[in-house]
Symmetry: C2
Subunit: 345 residues, 2 copies
C-alpha cells in the first residue's frame, strides 16, 4: 500500500480540508487546535505521506531548536562517551543535536563553526582541539551565540562558561594514593599540545612536591604521531625499560590510553605491574576508559564523570539560551574524579 506523497503543507491542507496555517499550528502543538480538527488532521495524515520541510520550518522562527556540538575527534571512547551523554541530554530537552567532528583539523573545526552560525543553532557546545584550535574562530562563535566550552579550555578562554573535570583534584587523588601504597610515582606525560594533559602534569607536580617528593616527568617529547596515545605510552616506556629504568616505580600516566601503551611496554619486558607485585612496578591512568576493566592487569585509574559533564554542559547551555543567568560572570563547573582501584596499581 503506497500512500500518496505530499510535498507541501499547502497540498496537504487541500487534501485534508483544513487551512494551511491551521496545519502549521497543529504541527507545532496539536493542542492548539480544536479537538475535532486535530482528529481530522490525524486521520488525514495517516492516509498520506508527508514530512514538513526542515528548512522552511526554521527559516522564520525565533528559535531553531538546534544545538551544535563540536568534538575534536571520534576515535577515542572518552569523547564518544561524552558525546553520547550530551546527545541524550539535549534530546531529552527537546533539541536536535548537530554534531560536527573536527577530525584533528583546525580548518574543519572552523568550517563547523561557520556551519553552526549559518544554521542559526540556538547554541554551541565545543570541545576544542587543544592548542591547534583557531581561537579566533571560537571567539567569533562565542560572541555570536550561546556558547559553553566542554572538557578542555584554552588558556585564553578562561572567561567563558566551562564544564569539565577538576584535574587538580582528580590527579591529586591518584597521586596521593600511589604515594600511600608505594614509591612516589613518576608521571608519563604527553607532548604539550593538549590542555588537559598539561593541567594534569601540573597537578601532579604540585601534589607530589607538596608531599615532599621530587617530581619526575617523562614522555613530553613527540615520539609517535601525537594522537596515537597508546603508541606514545608504549614507545616512551619501552626506551626506559630497555635501559632498566623505572622498572620498580609507580608510573602515573596522563590518561588511560597512554597507560594501555604503558601496560604493553611492561608486558614486553616481562614486567607485571600491580598492587602487591613483586617488582614494585605500578601503572595507573586517568579517565576510566571503558576498556580499563579488561586490560591485563586491569587498570587502576581515576574516573571522569562523563555523564555528569555532558548533562551539566547541556543544561548550562540551555540556561544561557533562555537567558536565565542572573549575572554576567562565567560559570565554571568542575567535577571531581573518583578513584577506581583495580589491579595495576
Amino acid at each position: 500500500m503506497k500512500k500518496p506523497k505530499i510535498k507541501t503543507m499547502e497540498e496537504l491542507s487541500v487534501a485534508i480540508g483544513v487551512s494551511r496555517p491551521t496545519l502549521s499550528r497543529y504541527f507545532q502543538s496539536p493542542d492548539s487546535v480544536r479537538g475535532s480538527t486535530a482528529k481530522k488532521i490525524q486521520l488525514g495524515l495517516e492516509r498520506v505521506e508527508y514530512v514538513p520541510n526542515f528548512f522552511a520550518t526554521r527559516l522564520n522562527r525565533k528559535s531553531t531548536g538546534m544545538i551544535g556540538v563540536i568534538i575534536p575527534y571520534l576515535n577515542d571512547l572518552f569523547f564518544t562517551k561524552l558525546l553520547e551523554s550530551i546527545e541524550m541530554a539535549a534530546m531529552d530537552a527537546g533539541y536536535t543535536v548537530i554534531t560536527q567532528c573536527s577530525h584533528s583539523d583546525r580548518a574543519i573545526e572552523a568550517r563547523a563553526a561557520e556551519t553552526f552560525m549559518s544554521m542559526n543553532v540556538d547554541g554551541t557546545l565545543v570541545v576544542p582541539l587543544g592548542n591547534r584550535s583557531d581561537l579566533v574562530v571560537h571567539q567569533r562563535l562565542q560572541s555570536r551565540l550561546p556558547f559553553v566550552l566542554v572538557d578542555s579550555r584554552p588558556a585564553t578562554m578562561l572567561e567563558v562558561d566551562f564544564v569539565g573535570t577538576d584535574h587538580k583534584q582528580s590527579t591529586g587523588l591518584i597521586t596521593k594514593y600511589l604515594c600511600r601504597v608505594g614509591k612516589p610515582p613518576i608521571f608519563l606525560a604527553m607532548p604539550r599540545v593538549n590542555f588537559n594533559a598539561m593541567e594534569r602534569e601540573k597537578a601532579y607536580m604540585d601534589c607530589i612536591t607538596a608531599l615532599g617528593h621530587k617530581p619526575v616527568v617523562i614522555g613530553t617529547d613527540l615520539v609517535e604521531d601525537q594522537w596515537y596515545f597508546e603508541a606514545h605510552g608504549e614507545a616512551v616506556l619501552n626506551d626506559f625499560f630497555a635501559r632498566g629504568q623505572f622498572t620498580d616505580r609507580s608510573i602515573l600516566c596522563v590518561n588511560d590510553r597512554v597507560a594501555i601503551g604503558a601496560l604493553r611496554a611492561a608486558s614486553r619486558h616481562g614486567l607485571v605491574p600491580g598492587r602487591g607485585a613483586k617488582g614494585g612496578l605500578r601503572i595507573a591512568g586517568h579517565d576510566d576508559y571503558p576498556l580499563c576493566p579488561f586490560t591485563t592487569p586491569a587498570l587502576t585509574t581515576v574516573a571522569q564523570d562523563f555523564e555528569a559533564i555532558g548533562k551539566a554542559a547541556v543544561s548550562r547551555l540551555i540556561e544561557v539560551i533562555n537567558n536565565e543567568d542572573t549575572d554576567d560572570t562565567p560559570r565554571i563547573q568542575l567535577f571531581d574524579g573518583v578513584l577506581k582501584l583495580r589491579e595495576s596499581a
Copy 2:
C-alpha cells in the same frame, strides 16, 4: 575591531553596492561574476561580518549538498573509524555530512530518518541497528531518497546497495589459519541480534565443516547486556575455563571486543594464549580494532578495511545521487579481510 554585523544578503548588497542576486551567484561560484565585481565583493566582505543563512540557502535548491549518516552507536572504535572515513570522503566530495547516532534505540533511529527526509538530504548512508531496527523506517527512507546500506544488512534488505566486508572470506581466512597452526577453533559467538555476528558464525560453521572438523559454537546466550561485548566474552569464557574446558583450544571470537574479554578471562585463569604457547590456547578476533596491538598478548585478528568501506559507500551514494547507475540491479560491494598475525594466535 568589531565588524558591523550584517544579517541578510539584501543589506549586504546595499553595503557593497551590488545587486543581491549577484551576491548569490558570487557565493555559489566566485568565478561566475566579472573579475572586477568579485574583487569589489571580496573587499566588502572583509569589512563586515556576514554568514549566509543555511536554511534559506537550501530552501529553493534542487540539491542540498548534504548527506545523512545513521550510525547505531558511538562507543565502539569500529564505527568510529568507519564514520571518520565516511565523513572525510564525503567532505572531499563537497558534501556536508549530518551524522545521527541511533544510540541503540529504534525510536531514535526512526527519528533520525525522519529528520533526514525533512532536511531533503541528497542521500543517506545507514548502518542499521541490527534486528532491532524498524525496517519499515528503512524501507521508507530508501524509497524516498538515494540510500546505501553500510557494514551490516537485514535479511529483508538484500535488494539494496550495500558496502561491507565479505565475512565469508574474512572469517574463512582466519578459520583456515587457525586450523593450520593448531587444533580446529571453536567459535565464541554473540546473542543472535547482530547480522554480522550471525554471518560470521555461519561462515565459521561452513568453513570448519568443509575442512572436515566438527563446529563448536559457544556464547550465543545472553549473559551481560548485549552491547558490552568485552564483558560478554569474558563472562562466557570464565565459565568454561573454570570448568577446565577449552583451555587448550583455539578460540575464534566473533569480533575483537569479545576477544579482548576472552583475553581477560584467560589471564584470570593464568592462561597465556599464543602461537607457540605451551598450553595450546589460542585466541583470535575479527575487525582489527585499533587497540589490538596493545593487548596482552597482542591480538591476532582479521582486519576490516574501514577506509575502503567508507570511501566506497560514499562514492556509491554519490553515483546514485547523480543518477549515474546504468541499470537497476543493486550494487553489492564486499571487501576482503586481511590477516593480522600478532601474538595471541
